[in-house]
């Protein structure tokens, strides 16, 4: 998504637009403007888009200022900022926020490091590259519902994780009730997030590594740079844009964590593994408090927006490059 907003494209488009206008004056036969035609091409899609995406976006803000009634003919009551004030005073909202941030920190960093490491290993010529790529990418294409249930099974009390840690490795007693406590639950949920996401970041990094200038790597080797120095001085700057892209996408993905929590712990016990979206979902569709749920969604949307803007700025500042 970041590709699409960079300045050069916008400038190019503006120039094209200007030259098209000039062209029309000089050469009226060249009918690129096409009158009504482009609007007819755009109309069906844009109509659907406005009704089902834009209108709900506006309505999310509106609903967040109301005690929104969906049942029967009850009138919704205007509350002003009450739903937002309530969020800030709601301990469960803070627990959910902290859990979301914990999930982001715990999953984004390992996904980047491991994904990059696998990409670097695969980038060295290996006859089995395609096979490895497929194997690492399989969790990415598998449905969240299936893998969430699968991990609930692996982390069950009598599950294979407890057996491995307790009976084989002997590092725990082997009777950890993973999904019955806040932090162990977050560990299980984060483990799933990392396992499922490594293949994706690996794929992006593999593509980016194609762009690392081979000559520079060789020159650095000749100059006596060791592997780490080559990585830091040659490889890292060349893949910086991809790194920024992956980080932003993973952080946004982290804020969106929902299915795994919903299916592994259901936010329990007693809401202690709740994340923002599961809490929003519970408020809206279990307690039918759509106004409060919308307020949480709006807060989350704002944070995600601000975060991705800041993060892109920070990355750009360092190497002065565009995002990929």
């Amino acid at each position: 998504m970041t590709t699409l907003v960079d300045g050069s494209t916008a400038t190019r488009r503006a120039e094209a637009l200007a030259s098209a206008r000039r062209g029309r004056v000089l050469n009226p036969k060249k009918s690129r403007s096409g009158g009504l035609t482009p609007y007819l091409f755009i109309a069906p899609g844009f109509l659907i888009f406005v009704v089902t995406i834009i209108y709900p976006t506006v309505q999310a803000f509106q609903m967040s200022f109301f005690d929104w009634k969906i049942v029967g003919s009850q009138a919704s009551e205007f509350l002003g900022l009450d739903n937002y004030v309530r969020a800030f005073e709601d301990p469960q909202f803070w627990v959910s926020s902290v859990n979301t941030l914990v999930y982001i920190v715990a999953t984004v960093v390992p996904q980047i490091i491991i994904g990059l490491a696998v990409a670097l290993l695969l980038h060295m010529k290996s006859p089995a590259q395609t096979l490895f790529r497929i194997l690492y990418y399989l969790p990415v294409v598998t449905s969240w519902v299936v893998v969430s249930l699968l991990f609930r099974f692996l982390f069950a009390d009598a599950g294979v994780i407890n057996f491995t840690l307790g009976d084989i490795l002997g590092v725990t007693d082997g009777d950890t009730a993973w999904l019955a406590d806040r932090w162990t639950g977050m560990i299980a949920i984060s483990a799933l997030g990392i396992w499922k996401g490594i293949g994706w970041s690996m794929m992006i990094f593999l593509a980016a590594l194609q762009g690392v200038p081979r000559g520079l790597v060789e020159a650095a080797t000749v100059d006596g740079a060791n592997a780490w120095q080559r990585f830091r001085v040659v490889t890292l700057p060349a893949i910086w844009a991809a790194l920024a892209f992956v980080t932003v996408m993973l952080v946004i993905g982290g804020f969106n964590v929902f299915i795994s929590v919903y299916l592994m712990t259901g936010g329990g016990p007693a809401g202690r593994t709740q994340v923002l979206l599961t809490y929003m979902y519970q408020q809206a569709f279990e307690y039918l408090d759509l106004g409060y749920g919308s307020a949480i969604a709006v807060l989350l949307t704002i944070v995600v927006f601000a975060f991705s803007v800041l993060q892109l700025r920070a990355f750009r500042g360092r190497y002065g490059e565009d995002s990929p």
Partner: protein, 284 residues
């Protein structure tokens, strides 16, 4: 001249590289293998200690139960229907928009484009509450049409951006030549642009199809009627909400049935996955 020491170091590096890759690959694959094996185990052997990685007494009873009493093929058919219809509609409508953006200059082009961009930045689940209210007002709750409409909506912006890029890379001269021959815009779009953008269409089709196939949150929210459950919702119902009574064999038999088509699609169309990812905008 290469010394023997360098060669030994090289061979050691190669071995280490592959050892690491194999260990990693095993960790990625092991959960799937265990899922497959559990789907062939009867409930008595599930979650016993030590865990049975290879079923001692393999049985197909979970599959016959899922296919027979649990009616999985109905859910399978629902998922196929929703995914096929949504993907076709989304591709038709978004490729039309993409063509207009790639080939025409018109008033409001920039603005419309920016509005679509905005749509890319709003994660789908953030809109689930107002969309639920909208679906209720449009009478779309508890219907497959309700899934289709919002799946199309959710995929429009992304597909438009993806396809616009492909259309722009088609030489403009071809378009002009066809126009000289008197072809109207629809003919140029349908006969020239679409066939030449096949790789882009393939990428968009695969990602849209898989996203619809796997979608859970929206289906969970609007579908109540057991007859019209899609696979993800049905599998979640199999798993229930308690912990001890879960028929894991049944859950995983259903999961295997749901996942196999995805893996087949992935293996056949691998290169489109790479293409879709590196074109920048898709997180699968």
């Amino acid at each position: 001249m290469r010394s023997r020491a360098t060669r030994t170091a090289r061979r050691l590096g190669f071995t280490l590289q592959h050892a690491l890759l194999v260990v990693g690959a095993l960790i990625m694959i092991a959960p799937f293998a265990y899922m497959l094996s559990t789907s062939f185990q009867s409930q008595t052997f599930v979650l016993t200690t030590p865990p049975q990685l290879i079923p001692s007494d393999p049985t197909a009873s979970n599959y016959s139960s899922v296919i027979g009493t649990q009616d999985i093929f109905r859910y399978f058919a629902n998922s196929v229907f929703v995914a096929v219809v949504s993907t076709s509609l989304s591709l038709l409508v978004s490729s039309m928009m993409a063509y207009a953006f790639a080939r025409f200059r018109f008033a409001g082009r920039e603005t419309i484009f920016r509005v679509l961009l905005l749509g890319l930045m709003i994660p789908a689940i953030m809109l689930i509450i107002p969309q639920f209210v909208l679906a209720k007002n449009l009478g779309l709750l508890d219907s497959l049409a309700g899934l289709v409409v919002f799946y199309v909506a959710g995929s429009l912006a992304l597909n438009t951006f993806l396809l616009r890029g492909f259309f722009e890379s088609i030489p403009r001269e071809l378009d002009d030549a066809m126009q000289m021959d008197g072809a109207n815009a629809w003919t140029r779009y349908w006969r020239l642009a679409l066939p030449l953008a096949k790789p882009g269409l393939a990428t968009a089709t695969i990602f849209t199809f898989l996203n619809c196939w796997d979608e859970f949150a929206w289906a969970l929210t609007i579908i109540n009627d057991p007859e019209i459950r899609t696979l993800p919702v049905a599998i979640r119902i199999f798993a229930g909400s308690g912990n001890n009574a879960v028929q894991w064999g049944v859950v995983f038999a259903a999961s295997v049935i749901a996942v196999i088509p995805v893996i087949i699609v992935f293996l056949i169309f691998q290169r489109y996955f790479v293409q879709g990812l590196t074109s920048g905008a898709i997180k699968g």
